[in-house]
Amino acid sequence: MVLNFNERSPFTYLMCVICIASLGYGANVMAFEPTSTSPSKLPPWSQVEDTDPDPDPGETTQAVFTLNYPRIQIPFEITLWVLLASFAKIGFHVYHKITVWVPESCLLISIGLIVGGIMHSLHEKPPAVLTSNAFFLYMLPPIVLDSGYFMPTRPFFENFGTVLWFAVVGTLWNSIGIGISLFAICQIEVFGVQDITLQENFLFASIISAVEPVAVLTVFEDISVHEQLYIVVFGECLFNDAVTVVLYNLFNHVAALEVVEAGDVFLDIGHFFVVGLGGTIFGALFGFVTAFTTRFTGKVREIEPLIIFLYSYLAYLIAELLAISSIMAIVICALTMKYYVEENVSQRSCTTIRHVIKMVGSVSETLIFFFLGVVTITTEHEWNWGYILFALLFALLWRGLGILVLTQIINPFRTIPFNFKDQFGLAYGGLRGAVSFALAFTLPDSIGRKDLFITGTIVVIIFTVFIQGITIRPLLKLMNVRKTNRNQETINDEIHKRLMEHTVAGIEDLCGQWSHYYWKDKFMKFNNRILRKILIRDNHPESSIVALYKKLELQNAMEVLDQMSGDISAAPSLISLQYVSSISRPVLLFSEVFETTVSYTNKHTLPDDITAREILMRRHTSLRRSLRAGSFHGTVCNTIYMRALIYTGYRKTKKNAKSYIIIYIIYTLLNMEMRVFDPFLALFLPECCKNVAEVFLSAHGPKFEL
């Protein structure tokens, strides 16, 4: 009984919050909407202001309590909507089981439906937020930037051809196929939709072929499908957005024309390529400019994230200005700059950038699904059984056919061909979502059957998101799709993989044929020789093997520390009680950790443990006294100092007189940790090094080369 109550209470809490919030919001809106639907209804709040029923123009009484809603109306409403959507998101994760089986998009749409229902019953219109401008200029860029920034580059470039193939050719296939089939349906008199022209059909078809990755990718990640499938779906969705928007604009333009000539069609195709390639080149240019700018931000770390966002958004806007593909521009910008920027900016900025991008992208996506739900209830729908059901049917059919045919064509060119299960995953994972909805909603009013199209799009989206979204997970599990095998990184893997890459590159040279390894090699050489010198501030070309090695060593050292920190009561302490209060926990244990580390490596690094320990302790406590025990600096310095000690203790130092190497290692380690420009830490760094140096001096004798 207790358990049931506990499980249900967060859920009921959630429902209460949402109902109250929406009701409250509905009431507010009703009260404060300046263009109120019923003029006879007097807003109740305004009565507070009318303290004086006959205001005398001569004397102005000071109202004790005033409300000025219109002033804050717009930001207020925006904030409330976003907050509501965020509550919904929080609510889902409180009850964990739901999110496993039902993708988040479904839940958001459901909540949107509920809120829409409430608003509809109160005869209220939803906020006019989904205008063309608002969507394309404010809501779409964050989503696309999010996808572009977090795209794993290596698998992406390895599968570049496949991704482009599915994105471009696939979308074209879908649009044209669905468009023609629907036009054929339109000719059948019984459905009564003869007035829809071919161009309008193509327009509608291009809208419903835009695929949306979020739900599918979460499922793929959860069941760890193999990389190839993941990256193809991801990449396809990303570029497919660009293609769809281009097609949409194309058909929009064409639909407005009365007569379409062949010349127009060729011009449009040419335009398509210009747009796509132009976007790519533009994006790459902006990416390089951003990377170059971050080279100089060493002294102004706070504005680094801002620069990244500004440049990306600028790329988007200028691409819109030039009417080239803005989505491609922003994606390529993010892809190119990521590599260089992450080397130039500080650790904190890096985290900030990632975090903010994820946050804004997720807010945007959430809002769009939410509005989908709301709008479903509140708009005027035009329903036509034949047209809409056939649209749904054709959408599914053409996607399936498309994947089948396209895979057959491209499989011979792939090293790992897609088998039928992969193809099923690809086809079934084609959920429609945010972009389709927004494109439908922003159709110009000149399209006669706009409402029909909106209804059709909503039906397709809801069907795919709910039915396919919920069933894809059990189906994929049932079919036992190939799983990924990158689970743990070991240094072995990295080294052997590198060797194999070199081998294959060498054999390819031997055979005299090129493949993507050749291009990759060439690019890496160009990169190292020219690009890195220009775009990166302090250019220490670090092999991925060495980077991985450092990372793994640090992880090991931290694991040892974590292991020991639990055993505080059991370990004997050499530190006298008077220090206990002023020293935080990690310090208390460093002596034991040091001892354990030494025994863990099975090699005694210092010939005389006890004296070394005492020296370290004394140094350490003298240092600790100069810091306030609970301060942030104290704990940070402490951790860093700890790590440095562990790391050096962990090293095998059979040879004497290599202290300078040790100091170098500590210094680099501390540098890696302290990418934050912090004057205190900068002061502390030499002190720390000096301490450790002195310890080793006393242990190894005066063979100190610096």
């Binding site: 072995n492 893997d493 080294i495 052997h496 060797l499 060498g506 670090e542 092999s543 060593e553």
Partner: protein, 194 residues
């Protein structure tokens, strides 16, 4: 088609070769053309200098090891058969080949690919990768960017991770085991040799 069959006839034992390696006639012809292009003096076999003349291969960090893999111990020349057999290691794996119980393992099986990679490390052919051999490979791959100390630490760590019987060297079984999660078929295959 006439020219291809006549070229095929010129190559001795070509059926046996195709059977062993699984290459199609078109591939064999292409490889034969390449062989002839490399064999500038037209002797019918290749010597190390011919390999060294390939510029990119000379710049490859492990280029000399790859070249060395072609020459079996004691022999100083590579004839066409050996050339093709070594290259057969890099064919992508045929998934739909029926497994005849008595036929030998195909050259491009996963295990044989691994053996090829192993022998690139193990130059003295004692069946183990010792610390020194590993160090040599690391030095050639990473040489200029890292200090000797770091190289040694990396080598130590590598051996520590893979060495299960604690003999400070990596045997073939340990090598295979450490790579069991890696998709060797993908990494050690060249698409156009299918």
């Amino acid at each position: 088609m006439g020219s291809t069959s006549s070229t095929l006839l010129k190559i001795p034992n070509v059926e046996v070769l195709m059977q062993e390696t699984g290459f199609s006639p078109a591939h064999i012809i292409r490889l034969h053309d390449r062989f002839k292009a490399l064999d500038k003096e037209g002797r019918g076999h290749l010597c190390p200098q011919d390999f060294g003349a390939i510029k990119e291969l000379a710049m490859n960090p492990i280029g000399d090891r790859i070249i060395g893999a072609f020459f079996s111990p004691g022999k100083e020349t590579v004839d066409f058969h050996t050339f093709v057999k070594i290259l057969a290691h890099f064919r992508p794996v045929d998934k739909d080949r029926p497994k005849e119980p008595n036929s030998p393992e195909p050259i491009n099986s996963r295990s044989n690919k691994l053996k090829f990679a192993f022998q690139l490390y193990d130059q003295d052919k004692d069946g183990k990768i010792s610390r020194d051999e590993l160090l040599k490979v690391l030095r050639s791959m990473l040489g200029m960017q890292v200090t000797e100390e770091q190289l040694e630490s990396i080598a130590d760590r590598t051996i520590q991770e893979a060495d299960l019987d604690r003999d400070e060297a990596i045997s073939f079984e340990e090598f295979r085991k450490s790579l069991e999660k890696v998709n060797i078929d993908h990494k050690m295959s060249i698409r156009f040799l299918r």
